[in-house]
């Protein structure tokens, strides 16, 4: 895990540096900013040093828990991220849970009623969900919200949020949550549903499922005890994998809906070459990815005896 982290961060750092210019370019283009001031800034941010020195300095900071300093916000990166993590988690966990529940349930229905009207209907919905780009769906929803006024157009709070009590405040956030969460869920559940359907159909064709029926087991037992337990494997692998996208998977959606989460922060940082914010988000993604896969592997070993090591 440590070498992976090292290599990935180094690569991202180099790629960021390979992009033309740096954060200070916006000042360099401004004639009213003096050369001395620019040089002072360069020195302050360490941008005058060689790339490898910058990287090693950043790495040293990382080891001691210091994620660096944001040029744009002029604040430590860890503070910025700390503020935003919760917002992102609200959005991504909410849509994560819904898409998994909906995806699995609809997948099972679709598999059990194979080739029926509902299967086809759900399939059309699923492919629509996979095919529509998230940004486009988000824009459509924004348009819908603006036209009808049933949903807030963007952001996370209403203007008067500060004056609300706890319950009203919760409702306010919940209301703002719906459209971005729908955008994420619609794209997310469809794939899961198709996976669940395919996997369950595979297992339903196995002889041991047929045998369970021949034994006279009720259909409920056949499906949930014999078939589902075997069909869930690929989804568990996916579960671990998709955990990693919890913190970084909603960049576009957050940006369009002005959701004050990590994704939007990172997007802005990328545009402005605010390098240490980008680096911090890379570290988070890598850790989430590795941890997610680990969780997936552990879950898989817990449910499937064949995978356990003796």
């Amino acid at each position: 895990m440590v070498p992976e982290l090292f290599i990935i961060t180094l690569l991202v750092f180099l790629i960021m540096q390979a992009a033309p210019g740096d954060f200070l370019d916006q000042y360099r283009l401004d004639p009213s900013v003096s050369k001395d001031f620019l040089q002072a800034l360069e020195k302050q941010y360490g941008l005058d040093q060689p790339i490898m020195v910058q990287y090693i300095k950043w790495l040293k900071g990382l080891v001691t828990g210091d994620l660096g300093y944001s040029f744009y916000y002029r604040r430590p990166v860890s503070d910025l991220i700390g503020e935003r993590v919760l917002n992102t988690l609200i959005l991504s966990l909410y849509s994560f849970v819904i898409s998994w529940i909906v995806g699995i349930i609809l997948g099972v229905i679709s598999a059990l009623k194979k080739y029926s009207f509902w299967d086809k209907f759900l399939t059309v919905i699923a492919f629509t969900g996979i095919a529509i780009p998230g940004f486009f769906l988000a824009l459509l929803l924004l348009y819908f919200a603006a036209k009808t006024g049933t949903f807030p157009v963007a952001g996370m709070y209403s203007v008067n949020h500060g004056k609300m009590n706890v319950w009203e405040g919760f409702k306010d956030i919940f209301w703002h949550l719906q459209l971005p969460a729908f955008t994420l869920t619609f794209g997310g559940f469809a794939g899961l549903m198709r996976y669940m359907r395919g996997s369950l159909l595979d297992v339903l064709n196995e002889d041991y499922v047929e045998f369970a029926r021949a034994k006279g087991m009720p259909e409920r037992v056949v499906i949930f005890k014999h078939a589902m337990r075997n069909a869930i494997n690929p989804l568990i692998t996916m579960f671990g994998f998709s955990l990693s996208s919890l913190l970084g998977g909603a960049v576009i959606t957050e940006t369009i809906f002005s959701w004050p989460g990590l994704g939007r922060l990172v997007y802005q940082a990328l545009v402005q070459q605010d390098i240490y914010v980008v680096m911090a988000s890379t570290v988070i993604s890598v850790i989430m990815l590795i941890a997610g896969n680990l969780v997936g592997d552990i879950l898989l070993a817990a449910v499937d005896p064949r995978i356990r090591l003796e």
Binding site: F117, K120, E206, D207, Y208, E210, F211, A212, R213, A214, K215, G216, M217, P218, H226, R229, N230, V303, D304, P305, R306
Partner: protein
């Protein structure tokens, strides 16, 4: 003679072929099993033979009510089960069990051998307590030649032959009277095949089992069965006692099948004449007119192309559906 254990009458299973995305139109049928009738008596081994896709397995699955028949009767111990609902079917499920061809796919990879064996025991209330079920499961393992310590292992830890033994133990666990053997040895090595076959024979003696045996292996069929039915494109073309059929085959298809299987005696083997069939099996969707076999039959007449031959009685225990009988005046 006593009453037959199984009596299948005019059994039919058609799978509809449909076209269209939202609105379905039926464009035809795959006639997998078409008008099949036979009787099986207690302690008999009844073999179904024929090439792939001729409807042997579909017949067996329909008889087990794993798929619903389109038409016809399936009488088990004198009771027609072809339209019973799930609950009324339960006692018959206990009496009829199946051993599949592929032992890898027929055992649930997530369950230990113990769980696999105990589940049906408790479900059908063959034993009352978990302890009794456990004891009985160990007894079953012993019967098929496995060890009690295998109880807590998972299927992937066994070899093919061992898995098939487990599948047999599982089939025996509910004290069945009829066992369907769907090519139970074709996935196994020859040496293991013999062991498994001996196991089947032993249990038939000890437990008075009736077998429906589906196989491609004709020498094996001759060795273990009492009666045999040869199927072609969903219909039985020749049926009767094993010795009758093997000594005196009448249907050209049976003859061709039999001539294809080698004889262990090299002197006789040298004289063996193979009847090579030309062409391949016609599609079960659009079957030939008249006798389904006529496009490949070396003895076909004009009549064969027009009308499907009835079942003729050759002798008391031998029936065939072929016009050759008339000609030969048997």
């Amino acid at each position: 003679m006593n009453e037959p254990v199984i009596r299948v009458q005019n059994l039919k299973k058609f799978f509809p072929i449909t076209k269209g995305f939202l609105v379905k139109k039926k464009v035809g049928d795959v006639k997998a099993v078409d008008d099949v009738s036979f009787e099986v008596y207690k302690k008999e081994t009844f073999a179904l033979v024929g090439e792939s896709g001729c409807g042997k397995t579909t017949t067996a699955r329909t008889m087990l009510r794993l798929i619903d028949p389109t038409d016809g009767k399936i009488e088990i111990f004198g009771k027609d089960i072809s339209h019973l609902n799930r609950e009324k079917l339960l006692p018959f499920r206990r009496k009829m069990q199946i051993v599949f061809q592929n032992p890898i796919g027929s055992l649930n990879p997530r369950m230990t051998i113990g769980q696999i064996l105990i589940e049906p025991l408790l479900f059908h209330k063959i034993v009352d307590t978990k302890q009794e079920a456990y004891d009985k499961a160990i007894e079953l393992l012993r019967m098929v030649g496995l060890k009690p310590y295998h109880m807590d292992r998972y299927p992937h830890q066994f070899s093919g032959g061992q898995k098939q033994r487990i599948a047999i133990a599982r089939a025996l666990s509910v004290d069945p009277e009829i066992i369907f053997l769907d090519e139970p040895t074709s996935a196994l090595d020859v040496s293991v095949q013999a062991q498994i076959i001996n196991l089947f024979m032993k249990f038939q003696d000890e437990l008075n089992l009736t077998y429906i045996f589906i196989s491609h292996d004709l020498s094996l069929v001759r060795f273990i069965s009492d009666k045999v039915a040869v199927m072609y494109l969903g219909r039985i073309v020749e049926i009767g006692d094993v010795d009758e059929i093997f000594e005196n085959p009448i249907h050209p298809y049976t003859k061709a099948l039999l001539s294809a299987s080698p004889i262990p005696d090299p002197k006789i083997e040298k004289q063996r004449k193979r009847i090579i069939l030309t062409g391949s099996v016609p599609s079960p969707i659009a079957r030939p007119s008249g006798c389904f076999f006529h496009p490949r039959c070396p003895f076909k007449t004009e009549k064969c192309e027009k009308e499907y031959p009835n079942m003729y009685k050759v002798s008391e225990n031998h029936q065939v559906s072929c016009y050759l009988v008339e000609k030969e005046g048997v």
